[in-house]
Amino acid sequence: MRVVIAEDLVLLRDGMARLLTDNGLEVVAAVGDADALRHAVRLESPDIAIVDIRLPPNFRDEGLRAALELRRTAPETAILVVSQYVEHAYAAELLAEAGAGGIGYLLKDRVIDVSDFVDAVRRVAAGGTALDPEVVAQLLGHRGAKRLAELTGREREVLELVAEGRSNAAVAKALVLSVGAVEKHIASIFQKLGLPPSDSDHRRVLAVLAYLGPE
């Protein structure tokens, strides 16, 4: 699996490259700004690009803009945006830009849990979704509270993990349930919320997010 990293802090860039290499991924380029990222993606056509939101020269949202642009110019490359902070507005912008490749948006903190992080990278590179639990918490917070009132506590837990982009098997593992039980819960959630059932994890996330997004 071929990876391009765009991160301006050398310490983090090298650390992340080492972490991914140690876990069997191939880091084909590690760059420090948005222009170099565009160039590297064009040159290498990687499976996934891991992009920091803040990049030189202005350290605002150059990384996010570059990522949105890559969704259009290189749709086959999956994008994982990482940042020191998460805002669900950014998540909405990323998800709105449809592409063939997977999409992810995570706090940089998540690298601490190495296996979880590598799992998320692989999932996104394979066309899946990874949404930070903080974003999901913002969405399921008081905004969603009213609309989710009908769900049971267990169903809420399942919904959180589904919104993060996890597969049924991963949800089952996290909650110590059988896959069959998880499938039942998901069917019940989608029925209560009036959402069309969907096999694809990615489309499932989109449906949930569209449901919870601002009216």
């Binding site: 803040r54 605002r60 949202d61 020191q84 902070y85 805002e87 669900h88 507005a89 950014y90 706090l107 940089k108 903190d109 601490i112 849990d113 913002q138 917070g141 008081h142 905004r143 509270a145 601002p214």
Partner: protein
């Protein structure tokens, strides 16, 4: 007996209208004439203030009479003040109490005067009837052909006496009560005139002037149609109306309001010059004498402009010194808070982390299981430290504010709030960073306060950008009692004032709490 005393008191109150009315007439004529005449010069303000004081005294005297004679609790509203010479003059003109006192005194002068005369006449006539038999011989009273010249005939008039007196008593008490209520309504104070009232007053003034003008022109047209004499009434009417209109215009235009005294002075001077030129045009058209008063106006305007400029500058310097000191203070406090948070939060966590890792290193060879446990703990500690640092950075300056603007930043703030927040933002453009940041922190501090103290179940944030001012209002349905002098709100006030803005906090015990900031953002 008591009723008789009450009647005498009421009667006295009504009769006092005679001297009060005379004094009012003299005062109104003298006051307004002197003010109008002196308003050519800056002394007009002084005259106006003296006049206002005199009206206030007269009203206070009448109110004291109403209190002692009728037992009505009425105290005239005190004159509203202002700082600065022109402002004080302006405060007199916009003082609702001043105008209400004049209306009251005019009613007392006209209606009150007439009633007093009628009342006294009725009483005199009734008493006369009562004792008519004693003096009918000297009287020349006749009702048509019916001459009261015999004793029996004079006796017929006697019963009219008590009837007249009874009517007089009833009327006296009725009218005294009426004036008492009038005094309480008009002298009892109240807020300054609202903009709507003033607009109505201007409309009434304009229509009254138009009607008077029309009537005069009609009279002229129906009579000789010779020399156009109504122009001598129309000119002063137009002059007074134009000055009134100009004053209202100054009040409504923000640009003019900034130099209100000067704007009014210039407007009045211009109107007077036009007036004089018209008079010159209507009369001799010989030697152009209006040039002299015009020069005088120009001179006083120049002096006024220079004086206003220097006072404006020195006042501005005073405000800037104060707000700069406040801003520096607020910044100091903020830096101290950040320093404390870093030391007690992230730094302490890193120390603990280092200890865990050090221990793990020691145990790595001897006890791998507990070393692994320590490393896992350290990893959790890192997560906590990162969360704290993120919150700290967010509290200093949220990235989404500079990236996506005030609206998105407030939405994000609402997402992080424990209490449901409704955000409505009406903003067409990005505003200067300092303005957006200040507005953001007004909302952030208000939300933090509400979460800590109010027990609110719902918060509303309303942001709008109108007439080059950004308004942000945060209201909750909590129990109120927020301390406007507390450190958080004081810091906020300094932040807002450093940008020439204002912050108003209203939080009565029992709620609700409203925090409103206005920030000028001239583009």
């Amino acid at each position: 007996m008591n009723r008789f005393v009450a009647f005498l008191r009421a009667l006295l109150f009504l009769v006092v209208a005679l001297p009060i009315g005379a004094a009012t007439l003299a005062l109104l004529i003298a006051g307004w004439t002197a003010t109008a005449a002196m308003s050519i010069t800056p002394l007009g303000v002084l005259v106006l203030m003296v006049f206002r004081r005199a009206i206030g005294l007269l009203a206070a005297a009448d109110a004291a009479l109403a209190r002692s004679l009728l037992g009505i609790d009425v105290r005239p509203s005190p004159a509203s003040g202002g700082t600065g010479y022109w402002r004080r003059g302006w405060a007199v003109l916009t003082d609702g109490g001043f105008w209400r006192q004049q209306v009251y005194l005019v009613l007392r002068m006209t209606l009150g005067f007439a009633l007093a005369v009628a009342e006294l006449s009725l009483i005199a006539a009734s008493l006369g009837c009562l004792v008519y038999p004693a003096w009918y011989r000297w009287s020349q009273l006749r009702f048509g052909p019916w001459h009261v010249d015999t004793l029996p005939r004079s006796l017929v008039l006697v019963p009219l006496g008590p009837v007249g007196l009874a009517v007089a008593v009833l009327l006296t008490q009725f009218f005294a009560a009426f004036f008492g209520r009038l005094a309480r309504a008009l002298l009892g104070g109240g807020p300054p005139l609202s903009l709507a009232t003033r607009r109505r007053a201007l409309a009434a003034h304009a229509s009254a002037s138009a009607i008077v003008g029309l009537i005069l022109v009609l009279i002229w047209a129906l009579t000789g149609r010779g020399y156009v004499w109504p122009e001598w009434a129309l000119l002063p009417l137009a002059l007074v109306l134009s000055i009134h209109g100009w004053i209202e215009l100054v009040e409504e235009r923000a640009v003019l309001r900034r130099a209100r005294g000067l704007a009014i002075h210039a407007g009045v001077a211009a109107a007077l010059v036009v007036f004089l030129v018209l008079i010159w045009a209507l009369t001799t058209r010989g030697y152009f004498w209006p040039v002299w008063p015009a020069l005088g106006f120009a001179l006083t305007l120049g002096i006024h402009w220079a004086a206003a400029r220097s006072t404006r500058l020195s006042r501005r310097v005073g405000v800037l010194e104060q707000t700069r000191a406040g801003a520096v203070d607020a910044q100091e406090t903020e830096l101290r808070r950040i320093e404390r948070d870093l030391h007690d939060g992230a730094q302490a966590r890193l120390v603990a982390l280092g200890m865990s890792l050090g221990l793990a290193e020691q145990k790595l060879a001897s006890d791998p299981a507990s070393a692994q446990q320590l490393v896992a703990e350290a990893r959790l500690g890192v997560g906590e430290a990162l969360r704290e640092l993120r919150d700290l950075a967010r509290g200093i300056h949220p990235p989404v504010l500079s990236d996506r603007g005030l609206g998105a930043a407030l939405e994000s703030l609402a997402d992080h709030s424990a209490i449901p927040v409704i955000v409505s933002v009406r903003l067409d453009e990005r505003l200067p960073d300092a303005i957006e940041t200040a507005a953001y922190f007004v909302a952030a501090e208000a939300l933090a306060n509400a979460a800590k103290h109010s027990g609110a179940s719902r918060i509303e944030i309303d942001v709008r950008h109108e007439a080059q001012r950004l308004q942000i209002a945060v209201s909750d349905d909590g129990t109120g009692g927020a301390d406007a002098e507390g450190s958080g709100l004081t810091g906020l006030r300094r932040r807002v004032e450093a940008l020439d803005g204002t912050l108003a906090v209203s939080s009565p015990e029992g709620g609700p709490t409203n925090i409103r900031a206005e920030l000028p953002c001239a583009s």
